[in-house]
């Protein structure tokens, strides 16, 4: 996390913590248990699993926009935001991929199945992993930045495919919300899900902020080193 002196950052951090404490208490103590076919008690994973998926979409969209902007007009801040968004998309993607199979084990009897939505989601997370790995190991040059930005745009193109894959190709994945879904049949369930979305939005914002600051600091180090080498004050 950034050792930031910005009061807005700490205000956001405090709000995020408070919302998460409320959400956890609400999900475990107030939200009712769903029917056995949906996993019974394990269905409560849903209140974090779906918002984590949404947060991955959110970070993917930020990655796509900032990467596209970087490709059009390169700048350190656009590169930093794109890189930070890809890293956050990986974290939320792993949160979703870790929680989903545990719920599936109870609801479906298996941890994993090659369902269209699961497969396309895994593919999308792997694209963001490749962006992160590329930036971590391929250097900080202009060509590497542009290649990673192009990959960031490509990864986000896959997101609408995930969203509509269940409608187009069927599969086991539930379609509770939106077209064809019966929705959440208890107000407490709806409230828990909305609070989950609020909590994950705040968490995504705070992680993006922190990682973008870190990426900017890394760029600043690289520039200072170049400056020091050019002026002869730093040896290779």
């Amino acid at each position: 996390m950034p050792r930031s002196k910005d009061p807005l950052f700490y205000a956001l951090l405090a709000t995020t913590t408070a919302v998460f404490v409320y959400l956890i208490g609400y999900v475990f103590l107030i939200a009712p248990v769903a029917q056995l076919q949906a996993g019974g008690l394990a269905q409560k994973i849903f209140y974090f699993h779906v918002p984590a998926a949404y947060a991955m979409y959110l970070c993917g969209t930020v990655c796509c926009v900032s990467s596209a902007m970087y490709l059009l007009n390169p700048s350190d801040i656009r590169d930093a935001v794109g890189r930070a968004a890809a890293e956050c998309a990986v974290v939320f993607g792993f949160m979703m991929l870790a929680s989903g199979p545990l719920w599936a084990k109870k609801a479906w009897g298996v941890y994993w199945t090659w369902d269209p939505r699961l497969t396309t989601t895994l593919l999308s997370v792997l694209v963001y992993v490749s962006v992160v790995v590329l930036r971590a190991f391929a250097g900080n040059g202009e060509a590497e930045r542009k290649f990673a930005s192009a990959l960031g745009v490509l990864g986000t193109i896959n997101l609408p495919i995930i969203h509509y894959s269940v409608l187009k190709w069927g599969g086991n994945h539930p379609t509770v919300i939106g077209q064809g879904g019966g929705g959440l049949r208890h107000p407490a369930m709806t409230h828990a899900l909305i609070m989950g979305f609020v909590a994950m939005t705040l968490l995504a914002a705070i992680l993006l902020w922190a990682r973008a600051r870190l990426a900017l600091s890394v760029s600043r180090v690289a520039r200072l080193e170049e400056q020091a080498i050019a002026s002869g004050q730093l040896d290779y």
Partner: protein, 84 residues
């Protein structure tokens, strides 16, 4: 532990015991929903806290390096090794 009538009948009848194990499709799921729920929450929080810890540690290293470089550039006499 108190035995139910069905338990008593099974134990009293040696012919009812299993003599082989046969695999079945979609056998009864016995995994505890509570343990799956708790595992999911623990794994998710572990992932998040791990990411925050790595970010915090890296930010500290980068800030130290910036301070070193700024000092070297301002004094103009330091001979620091390259690399982060």
């Amino acid at each position: 532990m108190k035995q139910t009538p069905s338990d008593s009948a099974t134990l009293a009848d040696p012919s009812a015991r299993s003599t082989e194990f046969v695999p079945v499709q979609g056998g009864n799921e016995t995994t505890s929903a509570a343990s799956l729920l708790i595992t999911a929450y623990v794994v998710m929080w572990a992932l998040l806290l791990g990411f925050v810890f790595l970010s915090w540690r890296r930010q500290g290293r980068v800030e130290t390096r910036i301070a070193e470089l700024e000092k070297a550039l301002s004094t103009g006499i330091s001979k620091l090794g390259a690399g982060d």
